[in-house]
Symmetry: C2
Subunit: 216 residues, 2 copies
DNA sequence: ACCTGAACACCGTTCAAGT
DNA sequence: ACCTGAACACCGTTCAAGT
């Protein structure tokens, strides 16, 4: 006999983190509460604290799992960049959380993982040791920043009525910006309207790569 | 006669935002609560809501004020970068908040301000219009990412006993990272130990600038 | 050891009442 | 119009009690 809300598996850190990721994906950062988590896992709040020290650790673990999966096997920088681009699109909450992780001291799991994955490829490009840090962080920060901003835009598109055009999205993003005071911004937005987001993103990666080649 | 908790000035949006920045600077993000704010301003919670829609708007306004002041008059990219570097060091909470602002749709005041300031300088470099967006976002994301991470590190130093050496800081940042699984990260940390943070940061800016010159 | 769930301290926000 | 501050709904975390 099975009860109506039977516990399929024993509670574990892994099951808790998986449930957290599912909640973050479907409800956003605000959706991850201990109430929602205990309901989904059919357990009590204390049970979760038996596997995880506090909510921050849960968010870190969620981010690390997704980042680790996205980075996957070693690959050239453009491939790593696109994998993160896709991961951020799939998990929009990840952009902000990666920002939190990079600012965390001492370093958690996400920061060394990113540094290592991109760094090994920078080394493979033939960059001398003195340039490793500069080159790696330049790539990393561009990739995470640009991919994060793109993810936020796309998450907004999904929230608009499905008939909304790409133009309407841009008008929505543009918002209340005063065109008079921001001539450059206005020109850039008009120009981006016609470009493919992914190509635009890769152009930025190539720009940083060109800088690496020019300097080292 | 003056009462003991006299109200020096009438409440205004500006005074509220100033108090918020002061609280954020001294207590961190966690220190900005309506309780602390009402105490500091000697008022009630409702009074604040009469000038500001909700806490998010308060954080946005705080970030915009600081960013606007940091950007100041137009200047070449390296100067803008250093101004932001210093501003983030002085206001560590700003790093995370800028991340939030860049992900906000529709755009708030911070994003167009940053895009405009850097963009005008990119244009001045002679970059053709098709490269404006790519070049500007590449610079912007590197500057904000690198400066933010540096700010987080320095905020941690300030929290350590004043006798703590730069080496001890690095050991603290390094934390529990397993050297075996992260050979590149280990090498980079050892190398960064001996460099000046600000020069390191500027080297990254120059790397991106070299990329811009190489591509356009 | 692992789990339950009521209790606690704290938070952002609202609103009837005051001036 | 501007302000007061108690009340409300909600949140993360704790802990005595159960198995």
């Amino acid at each position: 006999v099975t009860s109506r809300t039977r516990r399929t598996e024993a509670l574990s850190r892994e099951r808790i983190v998986d449930a957290a990721v599912a909640l973050l994906d479907s409800e956003g950062v605000g959706g991850l509460t201990f109430k929602a988590l205990t309901q989904r896992l059919a357990t009590g709040a204390g049970a979760i604290y038996h596997h995880v020290a506090h909510k921050d650790e849960l968010l870190s673990a969620a981010a690390e799992g997704v980042v680790a999966e996205a980075l996957g096997e070693p690959a050239e920088i453009r491939v790593l960049a696109l994998r993160l681009y896709d991961a951020l699109e799939e998990h929009p909450w990840l952009a902000t959380q990666i920002g939190v992780e990079l600012a965390r001291v001492p370093w958690g799991g996400v920061t060394p993982r990113l540094l290592e994955a991109f760094g090994q490829q920078v080394r493979a490009l033939g960059v001398p040791e003195r340039g490793w840090f500069t080159a790696t962080t330049a790539v990393m920060h561009y990739v995470l920043g640009a991919a994060g901003q793109n993810a936020a835009n796309n998450a907004t598109v999904r929230g608009l009525p499905p008939t909304a055009s790409r133009s309407e999205l841009f008008d929505h993003v543009w918002g209340d910006v005063d065109p008079a005071g921001f001539p450059f911004t206005r020109a850039v937005v008009e120009q981006v309207r016609e470009h493919d987001d992914r190509e635009q993103f890769l152009a930025g990666v190539d720009l940083v790569l060109a800088g690496i080649r020019a300097v080292y």
